[in-house]
């Protein structure tokens, strides 16, 4: 099959639909290795988009490449938890053995080694991706074996299967992770709850949707969600019932009454991996929650936006969807109800943290660059394809399914008065038992720490880099919307850890993940990274720290979206709580020139082969 045949087959499979560009690009790259200029032209012509727009999408995502990056592409996860497990040494070792510089392609075009943002394997790192397949628990032995396999050009299928094993590590389950619900239970409960007056009369989907408002079944299911006081699990905590209701009642003036349900599984916040486990251990619960949402708002199509790092979950999840279709839980006539139609498709991302922001996610779902939209209007009225769209986190949908089955009153009895239900925590870092812990809301940090075997804890980063860093004086605080809200990450640092390096790692993360749309975030995150590197290099001063605060104020005030607003949090928190970690790196607490005369002579020294005292301007004291 020629390259053009490969591309055309993929294009045909996606009906030459530009909104499916992400999947077209990914599948093409999987087969052809990279996205060559002629490939992009061919795709652009087929979907009838300007070529530059296709190239713009391809250039936005870390996992698409418009130049060849080797037949083997190794990307080391570079979250602080991977660092703490020694990924830097392993990366260096791999590069040395491959005679390679990180970030460069080998001269024979065989392999490239680089780093990538957290791959969501923090409880089983150091982790990496090889050709976008997740590998966990790297060791020096594995690096050696991997280098051999790469040198011998062994296909990935022949690599040891255990390298690709991803453990769930569920350490504590509660209502979500311990549920015994059978597939379809929640949907049958929804349907049984209310008579479906007026619905049987509907002979097609459109009239079914138009009767939704008068139809008591969905309305009663919505009442349960509202009664439960369920709030979004992605971090922002918007009340789910209100979101669904707003989407359900959004007016559609132009006769196109489609509505959409989108599950946000773009779990990009470093340190978070609970959605991966939910989708592995409880996929039915998640899909059922999405179907309940479809039933409530009158949507017939749902999408799971799965982060590119979880590519390995695509086939198992599609198998679950196929089974649910066969069981009559997806497709037409769900749970025996004529007119109750809903289906789900998995959309794979391609390495962009920003797509966790719901409007950027929708842009990406439409095949575009993942740039957050201006709001209002919000997705509940103008979402996917400009239609009313519910975007919820994986865990929110899972909880919704349980609420649909067991009722809002039951759910509200769990947790605290303002934060009902449970929260799944992804715990990693300095503890004996990293993994997944589900607790009712209201649990204190101090309760969680001993449970996961953490000792001598110095700091905990809750909800990832964009969240909050707390020190030991705050361990009495609770995981709850009214105290510490969280999307689920808890990274633990013991008293041997350097909190400056933690913050520096996060600064690099934000600079790498800024979408670049607005000036303050695009440039500011890079300036912050440079400030942190300057301090790390021993050239920082009080002035550098003041700069960080200044940039923080600008980002807070002028950024386009939450990424910019929170990009300074790690520096801000650690500067407040762990200031000595910064100050001991400053030569003086006063002015320090950023230009180092002596190091400027390094090249001259190298050229002349000198390194004696006379070739240095000053000697380190």
């Amino acid at each position: 099959m020629s390259e053009t045949d490969v591309i055309d087959a993929i294009l045909d499979r996606h009906r030459r639909d530009g909104t499916r560009l992400m999947q077209i690009l990914r599948e093409t790259q999987e087969q052809l290795g990279w996205l060559a200029p002629a490939t992009l032209t061919r795709i652009a012509v087929a979907i009838d988009w300007p070529r530059a727009k296709v190239e713009g999408t391809a250039g936005f995502y870390s996992f698409f490449h418009t130049r060849p990056l080797g037949r083997y592409r190794v990307l080391w996860s570079d979250n602080i938890t991977d660092r703490m497990l020694g990924n830097a040494d392993l990366t260096r070792m791999m590069c040395e053995k491959l005679w390679l510089e990180a970030g460069r392609v080998s001269e024979d075009g065989l392999v490239s080694v680089d780093t990538t943002s957290c791959t969501g394997m923090c409880d089983q790192g150091p982790a990496l991706l090889v050709n976008y397949r997740a590998v966990t628990r790297m060791t020096p032995q594995r690096v050696e074996q991997m280098v051999e396999l790469i040198r011998n050009e062994a296909p990935l299928a022949d690599w040891p299967a255990e390298w690709f094993a991803v453990a769930d590590n569920i350490r504590r389950g509660d209502i979500l992770l311990n549920n015994a619900m059978q597939p379809g239970d929640a949907l049958r409960a929804c349907v049984a709850r209310g008579p479906a007056a007026g619905k049987e009369a509907s002979s097609n989907d459109r009239s079914w949707r138009e009767t939704v408002v008068a139809n008591p079944g969905p309305a009663l299911a919505l009442e349960e969600i509202k009664l439960s006081n369920l709030r979004g699990r992605g971090g922002a905590g918007f009340t789910t019932g209100l979101k669904w209701e707003a989407c359900r009642s959004a007016s559609v003036a132009d006769g196109d009454s489609r509505r959409f349900i989108v599950c946000n599984a773009d779990e990009g916040e470093p340190g978070t991996f609970k959605d991966r486990v939910l989708l592995t251990a409880q996929p039915d619960l998640v899909f059922e929650g999405m179907t309940v949402a479809g039933y409530v708002v009158g949507a017939t199509q749902g999408y799971v936006y799965l982060r590119g790092e979880y590519r390995y979950l695509l086939d198992p999840l599609n198998a679950v969807l196929a089974r649910r279709r066969a069981q009559g839980l997806l497709g037409r006539g769900i749970a025996g109800q004529a007119g109750f139609s809903f289906d789900i498709e998995i959309h794979l991302g391609a390495g962009a943290y920003i797509c966790g922001e719901e409007s950027a996610l929708i842009e990406s779902l439409e095949g575009k660059r993942g740039v957050p939209r201006n709001r209002p209007p919000y997705p509940i009225t103008h979402g996917f394809l400009n239609r009313p769209t519910v975007v919820n986190n994986v865990e929110t949908f899972a909880a919704s399914a349980l609420i649909a089955l067991q009722g809002g009153e039951w759910f509200r009895g769990i947790g605290t008065s303002k934060s009902s239900g449970t929260k799944i925590l992804s715990i990693s870092g300095d503890c004996l038992h990293p993994g997944i812990y589900e607790y009712p809301f209201g649990v204190t940090i101090a309760q969680v720490l001993p449970a996961c075997g953490a000792r001598d804890v110095h700091a905990v980063q809750v909800s990832g880099p964009s969240g909050i860093c707390i020190d030991e004086t705050e361990f009495k605080r609770r995981i709850a919307f009214e105290d510490i809200p969280t999307a689920g990450a808890m990274m633990i640092f013991n008293d041997q850890r350097d909190m400056f390096e933690v913050a520096r790692n996060f600064a690099h993360f934000f600079a790498h993940e800024s979408c670049g749309f607005c000036t303050p975030c695009r440039v500011g995150t890079s300036l912050l990274k440079n400030c942190m590197d300057k301090i790390a290099d021993g050239h920082g001063s009080q002035h550098t720290m003041n700069e960080i605060f200044q940039i923080n104020r600008l980002l807070q005030m002028a950024s386009h979206c939450g990424l910019g607003h929170t990009a300074c949090n790690p520096m801000f928190d650690t500067l407040k709580k762990f200031r000595p970690a910064y100050e001991r790196r400053l030569k003086t607490l006063d002015f320090e020139a950023s230009f180092d005369l002596d190091s400027a002579l390094a090249q001259a020294r190298q050229m002349t082969g000198r390194d004696d005292a006379g070739s240095h301007l000053e000697t380190q004291s």
């Binding site: 200029p37 727009k53 713009g56 250039g59 201006n374 600079a511 695009r522 890079s526 300036l527 002028a558």
Partner: protein, 246 residues
């Protein structure tokens, strides 16, 4: 009977500004002759709010004035020391992320970035320069592209797409590596259907898209912003006389 023509107003820096329903703060302000600094806004295009120069405070909270719909009674702060300071920082960021050498730039005097920097009293770039590597594109017989000066306002993208219907420009990359690209497989402007009569030719606020061989037809010193600051001749308002130097 109520007076139909009674216009609703909102406040900018304590001054009453009338507005028509559906207008943004920026549109209403410019129509009323009140200047709010901006680079990515242009009255002909749907605002997208990326440069953030027009950040103001609305009832005490920061907002982007080009995308913010006006409501009666809104109290906008714009010309405050704090906001001017933030705008200067944004300008400095734009200067250091690209390669801007005003003395040798043929757009000097007609450049909005430069004019705003003068207007806001930006005395230095303040931050370390990024010195990005951005080769120029001289492949088109009549047009030169100097990407070194691009501030990513997307005005050429919008003009070429919405008005010229050619889609000559788009953005690629992400974050600090975001950059302007050209709609051809070679990546060269010479291989596109761009022409000097396109609107995309005239919207660049800085010196990226330049017509060849006319660079210094108007000498430095006699150019648009050489004597009158940008805040006193913001030709973007639909009714304004001054717009565009060709």
């Amino acid at each position: 009977m109520s007076r139909m023509n009674e216009q609703q107003v909102f406040l900018i820096d304590g001054r009453d500004v009338p507005f028509a329903p559906g207008q943004t703060v920026m549109q209403a302000a410019l129509d009323a002759g009140v200047y709010i600094p901006h680079l990515c806004f242009h009255p002909q295009f749907k605002p997208h709010g990326s440069c953030k120069l027009c950040t103001v405070k609305v009832n005490g909270r920061p907002a982007t004035s080009c995308t913010l719909p006006v409501a009666a009674g809104m109290e906008i702060e714009s010309e405050t020391a704090e906001l001017k300071d933030k705008r200067r920082m944004l300008l400095q960021m734009l200067f250091v992320e690209g390669n801007h050498f005003c003395p040798s730039c043929e757009k000097s005097g007609n450049c909005k970035l430069q004019a705003l920097a003068y207007d806001l009293g930006m005395m230095s770039p303040h931050y370390d320069h990024f010195f990005p590597d951005r080769p120029v594109d001289a492949t088109h017989p009549e047009i030169l592209l100097d990407f070194n000066r691009c501030i990513l306002c997307e005005l050429c993208v919008r003009a070429s797409g919405e008005v010229d219907r050619k889609n000559v420009f788009a953005l690629s990359g992400r974050g600090i590596t975001k950059h302007l690209i050209v709609n051809s497989e070679s990546g060269r402007l010479g291989d596109t259907d761009m022409s000097t009569t396109d609107m995309a030719m005239s919207v660049c606020p800085v010196g990226v898209i330049l017509k060849k061989r006319v660079g210094f037809a108007v000498p430095v010193g006699q150019r648009k912003y050489d004597t009158i600051p940008i805040s006193e001749q913001f030709g973007d308002a639909p009714n304004a006389v001054l717009e565009q130097t060709r």
